[in-house]
């Protein structure tokens, strides 16, 4: 390289001006590292209080706990609480999300499933105040919209951002 200089007796490409800029950028970088670490603890990258959300339909017959920030190829849960359900209940999922994420487990297991236009319905036999959990593993990255509802009832439109 042609940018060799002489620092007293040694030939070297030392550049103090550049070095000072580098030190300054490094110090700023350290601050960023701390910010990222704190944001991560808070859940900005999933898995913390910032990522977790609870939504409820206006009638209150469906409450969903889920992660609005999830990660690619890591599991994310949807916990559905149905305070007033009794007997056979159909949980309707928009099909596009089922294509964007792999359904790992459903707890309890559905009695049957039904595929319709743009949605899939999972049927369960539930007591009041039951909880149904769906565990997914997102395949795609980016913002997703998921529509979940009860058959014959209102539905919730949830947003989830999937990090790489």
């Amino acid at each position: 390289m042609s940018d060799l200089k002489r620092v007293s007796e040694i030939e070297i490409n030392q550049d103090l001006d550049f070095q000072r800029v580098e030190w300054r950028i490094q110090r700023i970088g350290w601050v960023f590292i701390v910010i990222i670490a704190l944001a991560s603890i808070a859940g900005a990258f999933g898995g913390g209080p910032l990522a977790h959300q609870t939504r409820s339909t206006s009638s209150g017959d469906l409450v969903i706990e889920y992660d609005r920030i999830a990660r690619h190829a890591a599991i994310t849960r949807f916990d559905l609480h149905t305070p007033r359900a009794q007997g056979e209940v159909g949980v309707v999922f928009s099909t596009d999300y089922l294509h964007q994420a792999e359904l790992r487990t459903v707890m309890p297991e559905p009695d049957r499933t039904e595929s319709g236009a743009g949605n899939t319905t999972f049927y369960f036999n539930l007591e009041p105040n039951a909880t149904v959990s769906f565990v997914f593993e997102p395949d795609d990255i980016g913002l997703r919209t998921i529509q979940i509802g009860l058959r014959g009832g209102s539905a919730l439109r949830l947003k989830q951002f999937v990090l790489p």
Binding site: S8, I12, N13
Partner: protein, 158 residues
């Protein structure tokens, strides 16, 4: 995401993090530096391989990493500015036997680290024997000793 993209993203992210961390971060001074290197490789490996354990994936990742490294080295050769940006510059810490304490503090280098490098290479006993100490781009400290017959103004009676 395909293997080449993953390899390039991992390459760039790690480059950025280690430029921010400073030259000495993984210079393998302590035993733990080696341990840290191993843990970091383990942490990154999962994300790079991404649930695809095929030979094709492994081969493409290596091609991606090595290919990008070649590309970077070609660009560095053309542009000294980018070379400096990616590799950093060396820094003279001891000049004609005189320390630059401010530079040493900025790079988190103690006298002990310089003595360590000098002892390992030349069996040097004291700091006075060192004429030059340079923190190189790779985080290593290189030493130039004073010549034996060189007059030392402070210890002339020695």
């Amino acid at each position: 995401m395909d293997a080449i993209t993953r390899a390039v993203i991992v390459y760039l992210l790690l480059l950025l993090i280690f430029r921010i961390a400073g030259k000495r971060t993984l210079a393998q001074i302590t035993t733990f530096d080696l341990v840290l290197t191993l843990i970091i490789s383990e942490a990154v490996q999962q994300a790079m391989v991404d649930a695809d354990n095929s030979m094709t994936n492994a081969f493409l990742l290596v091609i991606g990493l090595v290919g990008f490294d070649i590309l970077i080295s070609l660009v560095k050769e053309r542009s000294p500015w980018l070379d400096r940006l990616i590799e950093g510059t060396p820094l003279v810490l001891i000049e004609k036997g005189k320390q630059h304490p401010k530079y040493m503090q900025r790079e988190r280098i103690a006298e002990n680290d310089i003595l360590h490098a000098a002892r390992a290479r030349f069996g040097t006993r004291t700091l006075e024997e060192i004429r030059y100490a340079v923190l190189e781009q790779d985080g290593e400290i290189t030493i130039v000793l004073k010549k034996k017959d060189e007059p030392d103004p402070e210890n002339s009676s020695y």
